[in-house]
């Protein structure tokens, strides 16, 4: 049933956000701390557990696949309701932050790549399957 997939997702989302809220109260910030991340972990662990146990029926997967596919459009809708006018006053900051983040991280690629090549197991695992 398609609703099983949607329901599983909704359950994980609410539990994750609940944990995030509890954590926020615990550390004294009036905020949801990492709720989305917890929910994602829950979905990964949950879907793997179900898969191992008896497989996940195709309609159930479809219930999740729709929301997975609709994620970029929702981000577009999110972008369309932001206070861009106000953000433009700080546009140079956004531009600088984005550009510098790319260059800083790109510069680190060869170093981290080399770091892991000393580990032959990881290098083998990274070989293409076919």
């Amino acid at each position: 049933m398609v609703i099983y997939g949607v329901g599983l997702l909704a359950f994980c989302t609410i539990v994750g956000l609940f944990v995030g809220d509890l954590l926020g109260v615990a550390i004294g910030v009036q905020a949801n701390v990492g709720g989305v991340g917890f929910a994602m972990l829950l979905v990964i662990v949950g879907s793997n557990w179900l898969q191992r146990r008896r497989g996940i029926a195709q309609p159930t997967v479809q219930g999740v696949a729709f929301w997975n596919a609709i994620y970029i459009p929702i981000v577009v809708a999110m972008a369309a309701q932001q206070n861009v006018l106000a953000a433009l006053s700080g546009g140079l900051a956004a531009m600088t932050a984005g550009v510098l983040a790319v260059f800083a991280c790109a510069a680190l690629i060869p170093a981290i790549d080399r770091l892991s090549r000393k580990d032959p197991a990881a290098a083998r695992a990274a070989e293409p399957v076919s």
């Binding site: 989302t13 994750g16 954590l23 926020g24 550390i27 905020a31 949801n32 701390v33 990492g34 989305v36 991340g37 929910a39 994602m40 972990l41 979905v43 990964i44 879907s47 997967v61 997975n68 994620y71 970029i72 459009p73 929702i74 981000v75 577009v76 809708a77 999110m78 972008a79 369309a80 309701q81 932001q82 206070n83 861009v84 006018l85 953000a87 433009l88 006053s89 700080g90 546009g91 900051a93 956004a94 531009m95 600088t96 932050a97 984005g98 550009v99 790319v102 800083a104 991280c105 790109a106 690629i109 981290i112 790549d113 770091l115 892991s116 090549r117 580990d119 990881a122 695992a125 990274a126």
Partner: protein, 254 residues
Amino acid sequence: MIRTLLDVVQRNGLLAGFGIIAAIVWVAYLISNRLTRGRVHGSAIAIFIGLVLAWAGGVATGGERGLADVPAFAGIALLGGAMLRDFAIIATSFGVEAAEMKKAGVSGAVSLLVGVIGAFIVGAVVAWSFGYRDAISVTTIGAGAATFIVGPVTGAAIGASSDLIALSIAAGLVKSILVMIGTPFAARMIGLDNPQTAMVYGGLMGTTSGVAGGLAATDPALVPYGAMTATFYTGLGCLLCPSVLFLAVRALVG
């Protein structure tokens, strides 16, 4: 008649939102395919159009919610609101195999941590040097330098204002577009020609649309490897930025 039409559109706001966004995405992919030959991913163009329309909405209405302040487009607020946004982002983690997480190995894990924290520090330092001094602003912009998802999720979690969230989306968008366009040119320089490096690259860059678009333009065979680590980036960012990193910033700037 026009009045009746507007009335129906307003009563069915969420559906109107789906229609409007579908039109935006359609135009974006048309631009992507025709004008950039697929080099700039359609999703990045769609988000850019969304931001431009938000700007236009702000100019037209003087409000703070972009296009959603135009009554006929109010449904966009529901579609792009926190509830559906979190729900859809969480859906992307479904089907990620725990075994594949291990396959990415040490390099994948290290690149993810360095990628999120590195981008955050760069963004936070830039925010600081542009005169943002409070922990919420610095954290939100720092998170935006991770991805355009981590920024708003973090901002919403720690109570940032809408203009800050827009700023963090803009930072993430600049990053995504730059990764998309720049990857084919930088590939040779950074040795991006094998699955292992593609995974490290995905973990460091993190922006899923940027990584997928950039790798597709470099070597389509590498896309799944880069996308796999990049998928974890947003989750890790959403986990770290509003929690550990926010607390760290608050401890530093008070």
